[in-house]
Every structure is written in structure tokens, then in C-alpha cells.
Amino acid sequence: MSAVPISFYLVLSAILFGLGVVAFVFKRNIITIFMSIELMLNAVNLAFVAFARARGELDGLVFVFFVIVVAAAEAAVGLAIVIMLAQNRQSLNVERVNLLKL
């Protein structure tokens, strides 16, 4: 194992995930919220890679590919939804998305 211990990677991954959650809750622009979800998924990828490296296995690395592929599919659909919404109401602020009461 290299000089950097696994706990460093995990702490970084936890911080990234936490930042993603905070941004998801507090940001108001749909695209930014979307990016925060991507940040969370990348935190997951980092954790998988770190564990795989620490164990000397390939499994964790393979999982990362699954996550990347699925995240790409999700992004495609997500952006299509955002475009549809933008066409119908000319705004990307979630506070204007309030037709249905929460």
C-alpha cells in the first residue's frame, strides 16, 4: 500500500458526499442541484476505488464502471426533463416550480 492511508480517501469521500447533500438541499438552480447529485455519485466511486485498492481486489473497480454508466443514462434523462421544463416556463429556479403544493 502507498503512503496515503485508506482513511484519508474515505474522509474525502464523506466530505464530498456531504457537500453534495448540502448543495442539493440549499441550491436553487436545477442544474446546480443536478451537479450536486453527480458529486454524490463521484463520492461513492471514490469510496469504491479506495476499498478496492485497500483490499487489492478488482470488484470495487468494476462497480465504479456500473455507477458511471448508469449515471450517464440518468444524466441524459434528467437533462431532457430540465429542457422540457425550461421550454414550458422559461426559468430554472426550483422555487418557481411550485404548481403542486409540497
Binding site: F17, G20, F24, V44, F51, V77, I81, M84, L100
Partner: protein, 494 residues
């Protein structure tokens, strides 16, 4: 035969329902450009045939029990039972969509293809024995549903529901995945039965639960809690159910719930069984919250779709009561409940679909006034579904609740008894809002400006099946109950 080829063939047979669903989904996509705009309904019937054939092919898969594709998928009676529930709900939802899409002028081929792909994802969820496979199944069903929810492209409500569902759904998936990463770190595997063995080993060696595994339990619960809609993760559901096209709501409220509950059972009862002491309390607290939030919020709704959305939240709470029992009887009760639940819920939403009219204008409870004098059979069917949701004897909903509560009481644990008492009180609260709709239909003067359209044949067939299922499970439950028990036992026999 070459043993490798034989092996692959057996694997294909084990995955037969998913293969059939995917093939028909692709078929619909390919045929779509060659079918004229006026004849798109044909694609709906093709999709319906796909769902029915997939239901039949469950029988094929059932002949090849065991692990498929190096144990990524498990074919056992548990997974097969869940498959049947999911596919029945999907078939009914397709029948309910045919005329709805014509009415809203959105009759398109991809709608049916997406429904079939979502169904394939749910099937994978029900059978997954590997958390990353489960993730792929979860995303297959979710991504298709995001699109389906937004299928009324010109309707701002549908856009909004789609966006909310997409953002919160992806958020939940990220939690689920982080949980999977943590359990991989704690045990070095993501295979559900291997996780169980590894956790047991670690706990006997260290005499305490590994922190990463506890964290993973919490994260996975958050992720799946969003998908089965339990409090405090329920906020998005009423909005999404209201904004989505009603047949899609019928689908969302039934099939993915059943599939995700199946996955949750596999994860909690098998992988996390060494941590039962921890998740028992989590499930208890969440069950109480879910029932209360669902029932109390449903009391004040004036929109039928929203009311039924909150009612489905309350039902997730009742299911959690049986879930908390943490016995094989509890699993059987959950499965039976889900079987009864899909008939009454899909049935109720199909009635809302039928009465909605163009642009879904007629969805408030007032619009239903005097329905009994205009369309007595529709009113009678809706009453049956509502009474079953309420839990009146001789309906599937009653026996579902009965078995759920019984499985919790039989454990003889004080906390579970208390939970059942709270659940019983909640059922009484539920009576108010279900009966209110029935009273409106039967005892209020019909509104003059509204005549409901004729019941289309496809909808009539779907309603008849749903009503028959509700009554069958309420009057002759023993056969399905035996199957549910066998399914629950198969889960523990590995």
C-alpha cells in the same frame, strides 16, 4: 451438449420474464415508426401481450430454481411470487393506459416500451442477490418511470412531477449506493448472502457491530425508504402521484413498491440479519410515523389522486408492521399484503383514470358526486376498492391487514403489540376519508355539467380483473397464502 452452453441456456431460462419483457419492449420500439399515428394502440396490445407472456414465463423460470449468472440473480419462490405481483400490476396498468393515451392525445409507442423496460428492472430488483445488480435494476425501473411521469409533455404539472421525481429519486439512489460502498468496505463483498456470513464472522470476532455496516444499514434504508415511500421520505410522493398521468400513478403506486419491498426484505432479512436488533427499532419508529403521516394528511385532501397517494403511504406503514415482525410469517404476511394491495390500488387509480376526462380535469372528490346514479357499476367497483383499502372483511385488504397484524402479535413482544394497536387506530382514522368518497358517490346529488364517458372495453377488463382479485383474496386466501408462506420459507432456506 457443451456444459457451458447448457449453463447459459439454464441462466436464460431463469431470467425468462426479464428476457420476454425486454424483447417485447425492443419490439415495440422497432415497430413504432412503421405504425401510423392513428394505429398506435396496436403497440399497446403488443406490450400487453408481452406482459402476459412474461407472466406465463415465470412458470419457465420456476422450473430452474437456483442462482443465475454466477449468483447475481436468485430464482426462488420468493422472487417468483414478487414477479407475479409486479407483472399483474404492469399488465393492468397497460390495459388502463390504452384509452387514456388516446383521450389525452399522447398515444405513442415509447410509452409502452418504457413500461416494459421498467417492469424488467423491477423483476431484476425482486431477484437480485447482489447489491450492484439491485442498483442496476433500481435504476432501470426508476429512469423509465421518470420519463413516464413526465409523459404529458404539455402539462406543467406533469413536467414538475417528473422533475421532482427525478431529483429526489437520484438523490435516494446516491444514498443507496453509498450504503453499498460502505458494506463493501466492511465485508469485502456485495453479495447478499455473503454479506450475512461475513457480518456474522466479524460480529463474533469483535463482539460488536462494525461501524461501517451500521452506517451502511442506515444509508440503504434511506435509499430504499424513498422508493417505497415511507415517512420521513414521503414528501415528494403526493406531488408526483398527482402530476403523473393517472395510469402511470397506478403503476408507480403498485409495482415498484412491491419490487422494492422484495429487495428490502432480501437485504434486511438476509444480508443484515446479524443486525436485526438495530433495524427492528428503526422499522418500528418509521412504521408509526408513516401510518400517522399518511392517514392524517389524507383526511384533508380534496383531490382524489392526492388522497389515494397519501393512502398508499399509510399502506406502506401497515406493511412495515409485518416487516418489523422479523419472522418468516412476517415475510409471508408482507407478500400477501402486497398481492392484495396491487389489485385494490391499481383498481382505484384506474377508476380515477376513467373519470378524469381530457387534461385530467375531473379529479376532485366533488366531481364524483352522484356517480352511483350515472354509472352504478363503476361506483360499485370504486366502493369495493375503497372498502378493501379501508380493510372491510371479505376483501383482500382486510385479510392483508389481518395477517400482517397477526404475524406481529404472534411474536409476543411488547413493542410489536403496541405497534399493532397504533396500526389498528390508524385503520379507523382511514375509514373517514375512504367512506367520505363513497358517501359522495351514493348520497349526493349528481352535478349537471359533467357526464362521465363510457367505460372502454380495455378498462372494463382491467377493472373486472382487479375486482375479482380483490374479492378472491378476501374470500379464498388460503392458496395465495400458502404460496406466500412457501416463498418466505425459500428466502430462509439458503
Amino acid at each position: 451438449m457443451n456444459p457451458f452452453v447448457g449453463d447459459q441456456l439454464a441462466n436464460l431460462h431463469r431470467l425468462a420474464p426479464e428476457v420476454v419483457l425486454s424483447v417485447f419492449g425492443i419490439l415495440v420500439m422497432i415497430a413504432d415508426p412503421f405504425v401510423g399515428a392513428a394505429r398506435k394502440r396496436v403497440l399497446g396490445w403488443v406490450a400487453f401481450a408481452g406482459a402476459v407472456l412474461a407472466l406465463a414465463s415465470v412458470h419457465i423460470a420456476n422450473h430452474f430454481p437456483g442462482p443465475a449468472y454466477s449468483d447475481l440473480i436468485r430464482v426462488d419462490s420468493f422472487s417468483m411470487f414478487a414477479h407475479v405481483i409486479i407483472l399483474v400490476a404492469v399488465a393492468l396498468a397497460i390495459l388502463g393506459s390504452l384509452d387514456y393515451l388516446d383521450q389525452q392525445h399522447i398515444q405513442r409507442g415509447e410509452y409502452y416500451a418504457l413500461v416494459l423496460f421498467a417492469a424488467a428492472g423491477m423483476g431484476i430488483l425482486a431477484g437480485a442477490n447482489e447489491l450492484v445488480t439491485a442498483f442496476v435494476g433500481l435504476e432501470m425501473s426508476s429512469i423509465a418511470s421518470y420519463v413516464l411521469v413526465g409523459f404529458r409533455r404539455r402539462s406543467p404539472a406533469s413536467n414538475e412531477a417528473s422533475l421532482k421525481y427525478f431529483l429526489l429519486g437520484s438523490f435516494a439512489t446516491a444514498f443507496f449506493l453509498y450504503g453499498v460502498a460502505m458494506i463493501y468496505g466492511a465485508t469485502g463483498t456485495t453479495r447478499i448472502d455473503a454479506v450475512q456470513a461475513a457480518l456474522e464472522k466479524i460480529i463474533t470476532a469483535d463482539q460488536h457491530e462494525p461501524a461501517l455496516a451500521v452506517l451502511s444499514l442506515a444509508l440503504i434504508f434511506v435509499g430504499l425508504g424513498f422508493k417505497v415511500v415511507v415517512a420521513p421520505f414521503q414528501v415528494y410522493a403526493p406531488d408526483v402521484y398527482e402530476g403523473a398521468p393517472t395510469p402511470v400513478t397506478a403503476l408507480l403506486a403498485s409495482a415498484p413498491k412491491a419490487a422494492t419491498f422484495a429487495l428490502m426484505i432480501r437485504i434486511f432479512y438476509v444480508a443484515f440479519s446479524p443486525l436485526t436488533g438495530l433495524w427492528f427499532w428503526l422499522i418500528c419508529v418509521v412504521a408509526v410515523l408513516t401510518m400517522l403521516v399518511g392517514n392524517l394528511a389524507a383526511l384533508v385532501q380534496t383531490n382524489v389522486k392526492r388522497m389515494l397517494a397519501y393512502s398508499s403511504i399509510a399502506h406502506a406503514g401497515y406493511i412495515l408492521v409485518a416487516f418489523a415482525a422479523s419472522t418468516s410469517l412476517g415475510v409471508a404476511a408482507v407478500l400477501f399484503y402486497l398481492a392484495a394491495y396491487i389489485f385494490m390500488k391499481v383498481g382505484a387509480f384506474l377508476i380515477v383514470t376513467h373519470l378524469g376526462q381530457q387534461d385530467e380535469k375531473r379529479v376532485s372528490i366533488q366531481d364524483y358526486s352522484g356517480l352511483a346514479s350515472k354509472q352504478p357499476v363503476v361506483a360499485a367497483c370504486f366502493s369495493l376498492f375503497l372498502l378493501s383499502l379501508l380493510g372491510l372483511p371479505a376483501t383482500g385488504g382486510f385479510l392483508g391487514k389481518f395477517f400482517a397484524f397477526q404475524s406481529a402479535l404472534i411474536v409476543q413482544r411488547r413493542s410489536l403489540t403496541l405497534l399493532v394497536v397504533i396500526a389498528a387506530i390508524n385503520s379507523v382514522i382511514g375509514a373517514y376519508y375512504y367512506l367520505r368518497v363513497i358517501i359522495t358517490m351514493y348520497f349526493q346529488a349528481p352535478s349537471r355539467d359533467y357526464t362521465p364517458s363510457r367505460v372502454a372495453p380495455a378498462v372494463a377488463i382491467a377493472l373486472a380483473i382487479a375486482a375479482a382479485g380483490t374479492l378472491y383474496l378476501g374470500i379464498l386466501p388460503s392458496r395465495v397464502l400458502d404460496l406466500a408462506q412457501a416463498a418466505a420459507d425459500s428466502l430462509f432456506s439458503h
